[in-house]
Assembly symmetry: C2
Homo-oligomer: 365 residues x 2
Amino acid sequence: MTGTTHDTATRWPEVEQHRRLVTEVLLALGATATTAGAQADVLVEGDLRGHPSHGLQRLPMLVDRIRGGLADPAASGEHAWRSRSVLAVDGGRGLGPPVAFAALDAIVERAGQEGVTIAAISNANHLGMLAPYVERAAIAGVAAMATTTSEPLVHPWGGRDAGVGTNPLALAVPTPEDPVVLDMATGAVSRGKVIDHANRDDPLPAGVAVDAAGDPTTDPHAALEGAITPFGGPKGYALAAGLEFLVGALTTSALGRDVVGTLDASEVCNKGDLLLCFAPEVVAGTDRRDVLAAFVRELRATRPADPEHPVSVPGDRSRELRARRAAEGRVPVSGRVWAQVAAIAEELDVARPGSVPTSEEDTAP
Amino acid sequence: MTGTTHDTATRWPEVEQHRRLVTEVLLALGATATTAGAQADVLVEGDLRGHPSHGLQRLPMLVDRIRGGLADPAASGEHAWRSRSVLAVDGGRGLGPPVAFAALDAIVERAGQEGVTIAAISNANHLGMLAPYVERAAIAGVAAMATTTSEPLVHPWGGRDAGVGTNPLALAVPTPEDPVVLDMATGAVSRGKVIDHANRDDPLPAGVAVDAAGDPTTDPHAALEGAITPFGGPKGYALAAGLEFLVGALTTSALGRDVVGTLDASEVCNKGDLLLCFAPEVVAGTDRRDVLAAFVRELRATRPADPEHPVSVPGDRSRELRARRAAEGRVPVSGRVWAQVAAIAEELDVARPGSVPTSEEDTAP
């Protein structure tokens, strides 16, 4: 859809303006500098990395949840060490990022002594993209894995109705250069992408969704009434379900159709999150950096299918896009989202976003 | 290919005959009762679960490796606890199963105190199917994850040449009934399946392999000269590479094209293995069994795409096939493999397999 009105044109706020806007809105609603900053960092990262469904677009829902008492903007979680290696976190209805970063920092530090540590988080809000968490650990020299659950949006392989969450898995491993980072949902597409296709009346690729009857569809409107297909067939379903069972066994989260609170503004969020850290110098007991660096070089030197696109290592493409946008200093935000956020800021009388550049066409996904 | 000679007809040895044959061959070559039993268990499980590439078919290679000094049939690994939660294992060139089961048993027990434990195994031979390891932990009430690496057989997404291993991921979570178990390679197909298609001159499905030039092919002979495609597109590649980097960071394994010794009888095996355990009662701190059982029921009750095939939970199908074959008391073994193994047994003068039922058609994959 070409932007025909000022309101639907994509805006290009400066990165720091985006961050300040989120921070000040949350501060006005009772967040602390730390909790607001953590949430702002994660939303900025979503937009910097080309995942607007995990960017500023999330702010209006968070505001509604805070106002409805479903999210405590000042909470960063209560920590209980159940052993030298296990941190149980009651998120206290806190925003996902401050709760998860506080847990992560605690288990990263402890991993340096114990080698392997885990944080099991219950009762926190949506974490957003998982990559920033595992990357933060990797930058501190610690390999990390993260997973979380969501409302059921993905149908079991061989089933017609949504039964498992989009249950992403993230993993980061430090190398002498940039960390290797993967962050993948277990659905073939994100719900945000289905919504985007619906907004543009653009058919979905085949094989990524089913309609309300459970039959395969490429109609994005029908898909919104149905379910997302797991990526990679039965293996993707097995991974999605397996991760949800693991979260269910190790946190006090709800599972399957009982999960609520990441897509609505009416329910306390009851999904769970797991963060795992591994300190290579403790576990391997020897310096592995040269071996890892050589493997990075070897993969990048693989003969490419398309000479224009060298083979990448997981994390490269996201990092490249992020670096480009960070250098430009601006991120795209859909006109609709920008209008919502501007109205919130005006109402709270904070960080008036004012005038920002627009692009003629609404290219933000 | 229809079996036209006695030698190529599928044999149906009794399960206990299969197990005894493997055990006695290994004992004759210097294994202990424990190490031979562990290896036999894993090969029997491969054939019981319909994965002949991880069944008796592996025995001739193991025999060659033992005779060549590349595998020590009596070794079960040296254990060094690097912290309360981290077990580093030097496999001492041992067979994969006895080394991995010994490591697993140690970290399962320790998980009951520490909540999370890891074993990082270097210098052991091929583990075979990973499901039996994580299942064993789950039956003991402990959730478990396992991964391992292999020679590069899978091409990076966007690349033409093999660069990463088939790097399987296994996960088991205990529930009040059977554990939820997944065990998936990160290639779209196994090399064993490509070999099977080549033996039968049967085209591969589209999108699972490339030829020596790196172009997509459905010709299994061409695929054997090329590489396997990752399952699930770029996400499968990210998972395969991410797991290999993690193994590389935490063990003393080789990576990428430097990995040898699971497909040959000429090199010391230098891949690595990771086993992780999580004790739910320590981590969650509360009894989660009812929640997990309800999720199992809910998934199985999902409206099925095909009314003849109810929706399953990861592990169901493998368990059903295993139960059926165990009840029948026999497993299929290809005539070619049976002849090889019979020759080995005859040479070693052990457990003469004698006459076993054959089927007219060589249906063993």
